[in-house]
């Protein structure tokens, strides 16, 4: 769940009335939040909330839909996210290097679930470098970081699957969590490739061909149809694969998630309009009558 639109929808889809929703918010923060703000976040994927509203809704969401991962690993991820997004920290590179040293040592300890999450976090660190390295033309470093990111996501995925196949394990890892690891692996291929070369990128095509990404995306959308990010990415990779049927499927899913996407120029929060992205060029040609 990476945006407030999805979080609000996910909470509302439990059958909550707006009054109940507002009461639950009051329990998190006594001052509550304005009903109009909540409705706007529910209706508009481009709506940006204040830091305070963001925190209140995220806390409520995380209370209701608790992460399957241990609390200490979630805290580590939160520290890393704050670090990578900090604007005025001149020592980010050093801090992240130290963070990796800690992770390397800690990877050997704890439960399988904990190890899976630590591999995930380590993979995140490598994935986050890919766009920068590609833009700066550092090809060797790019390939090295991509390889490391893929290795750690793969480790995480295998450990999580191992948990699900263990009869004695009482904690089942849900499909959406597994989908997220798969999407991150795909991001390792996509973000390493220049936008102009993605239609011809063999590694990317190979991964799409041999993974269940498209099938799993459809399954995730079936249970959470408001997830415009999943629909948008499905449309993107169907376009790169030049698959007209899948383009049609994911475009319908996208406009079902929110009708604002009928306008190709619509830019939701955190993503450009599809008309401005090379990845969607083929799909738009197919969809435009």
């Amino acid at each position: 769940m990476s945006n407030l639109y999805s979080k609000v929808h996910r909470l509302k889809s439990q059958g909550w009335t707006w009054n109940h929703f507002l009461q639950q918010i009051d329990l998190i923060y006594a001052g509550g939040i304005d009903e109009k703000t909540l409705l706007a976040l529910y209706r508009q994927p481009h709506r940006k909330a204040s830091a305070h509203v963001n925190k209140v809704i995220t806390t409520l969401h995380d209370n209701v839909f608790a992460s399957p991962f241990p609390e200490d690993t979630q805290a580590l991820l939160a520290i890393y996210n704050r670090l990578i997004h900090s604007k005025n920290n001149a020592n980010v590179a050093d801090d992240i290097s130290d963070f990796i040293i800690f992770l390397n040592g800690d990877l050997q300890h704890g439960s399988t679930l904990r190890q899976a999450r630590l591999h995930w976090i380590k993979a995140d660190i490598h994935l986050d470098q890919l766009s920068n390295l590609r833009i700066n033309g550092k090809k060797l470093a790019l390939l090295s970081q991509q390889k490391l990111a893929l290795y750690h996501y793969q480790q995480s995925y295998e450990l999580l699957q191992e948990l699900n196949s263990d009869q004695q394990n009482d904690r089942y890892i849900d499909d959406f969590t597994l989908y997220k690891v798969q999407q991150n692996m795909l991001a390792c291929y996509l973000n390493s490739s220049h936008p102009q070369q993605r239609y011809q990128d063999n590694a990317l095509h190979n991964y799409l061909l041999h993974s269940n990404y498209i099938k799993d995306s459809k399954r995730a959308l079936h249970s959470e149809p408001y997830q415009w990010i999943i629909a948008r990415n499905g449309l993107r990779f169907s376009s790169i694969q030049k698959n007209a049927d899948n383009c049609d499927y994911f475009y319908r899913a996208l406009i079902s998630a929110n009708s604002a996407f009928t306008d190709y120029n619509y830019a939701p929060l955190g993503a450009p309009a599809i008309i401005n992205s090379e990845d969607f060029k083929w799909a738009i040609q197919q969809l435009t009558p």
Partner: protein
């Protein structure tokens, strides 16, 4: 007698040519064209129409600001030496090249339509 006549003629010649010994050592660009008095005058005339907020500005600063803004009292600007200009250009180009490159590790760049990670 003859000498005094020559002296008189010489003095007359000097005065008729308009040489001013006081400012003779100054070039045209160095001549002071604004006086503190005129600046003060400007400041005083402005003070009459100041809003309450503007009164917070110290008077000296107001004078300075007004002097800078007055186009009629601005002389030829001091032009940088050709070499100085060249150095600045090189420095800026270096600076631009440096800023064009993204730092090795810094916030996640989603400039193009890259895929953000999911956690």
């Amino acid at each position: 007698m003859k000498t005094s006549i020559i002296t008189l003629i010489f003095l007359f010649f000097i005065s008729s040519c308009g040489f001013n010994t006081d400012t003779d050592h100054l070039s045209n660009t160095q001549k002071p064209t604004k006086t503190p008095l005129s600046a003060e005058k400007l400041a005083t005339s402005k003070e009459e129409t100041l809003t309450p907020d503007q009164h917070l500005i110290p008077k000296n600063r107001a004078i300075e600001q007004e002097s800078i803004n007055s186009a009629d009292i601005v002389d030829d600007p001091i032009k940088p030496l050709p070499n100085q200009n060249k150095t600045t250009t090189i420095y800026n180009a270096k600076k631009l090249r440096k800023s064009a490159e993204h730092p090795a590790i810094k916030p996640i760049i989603i400039e193009e339509d890259d895929m953000p990670r999911l956690d």
